[in-house]
Symmetry: C2
Subunit: 146 residues, 2 copies
């Protein structure tokens, strides 16, 4: 049995984060020692490692919740799990495209600057006037991760 500190170190997750995951029901309530401290099994470590890895891959906690509940039902077809991963891949690809456009635009803005005073700074001007943009990088705002 692991204390919360050991568990966190093993999985690469901070201690308050583990308590947070328990609070929102992503991890089951931990067993407690005589002195009321949380104790974790190897299975709990696997579950936490799964969460950590999925977070690293940019999945939301909500998606992870779904993946975890799927993994608890081994006889279900895995199309549902696939779908979640496919959606995440689409999200990542769309974010890549947007960021690529932003990069180009920021580079373009920077080349405008000859290093003078703010008064004739092309950087500020370029930021102010969208019509100076080479590309259209206006997108509906998506709440974003990574």
């Amino acid at each position: 049995m692991l204390t919360i500190g050991k568990l966190g170190a093993s999985a690469g997750v901070k201690v308050p984060t583990i308590r947070y995951y328990e609070q929102i029901g992503l991890l089951p309530e931990a067993e407690r020692s005589a002195g009321n401290q949380r104790l974790y099994s190897q299975k709990a470590l696997e579950r936490l490692a799964f969460i950590r890895h999925a977070r690293d891959l940019g999945f939301t906690l909500e998606a992870i919740r779904d993946l975890l509940s799927l993994s608890d039902q081994p006889d279900q077809p895995c199309a549902a799990a696939d779908a979640i991963v496919i959606a995440q891949l689409a999200e990542v690809e769309s974010r890549l495209a947007r960021l690529g456009a932003l990069k180009v635009e920021l580079q373009r803005i920077l080349t405008q600057c000859a290093g003078g005073k703010i008064a004739n700074c092309r950087v500020i001007e370029a930021l102010g006037d969208h019509s100076l943009c080479a590309t259209d990088h206006r997108y509906p705002d998506l709440g974003a991760t990574i």
Copy 2:
């Protein structure tokens, strides 16, 4: 003079967002009509368009606050403005690199799945075990935009 609705429509910013910007001091307090409604000048529209554009480019409100205060001091050298844009470009590039790695990893996970049952699903397994990863995509967590 524009009402808040017209201003929002012109700049592509929602009405509550404008009030929020005023509340946090990013926009100055607006003039009011006899009936206490906010009224905006053309200058206010320009300032809001600047904010909107910079947000589109992924700048934080804090960075935008700095850019705005710089643009109010026309005789300062524009190196400070450049630095903010350069930092943002670096941020975008780092995020691009990470997302690229994530994309590869997600694709790899998906190719593992033969479409069976969860019990022998490689997708769930690949998510659970980081050591199955081709690349190391563990990065310190950065609060992220776009």
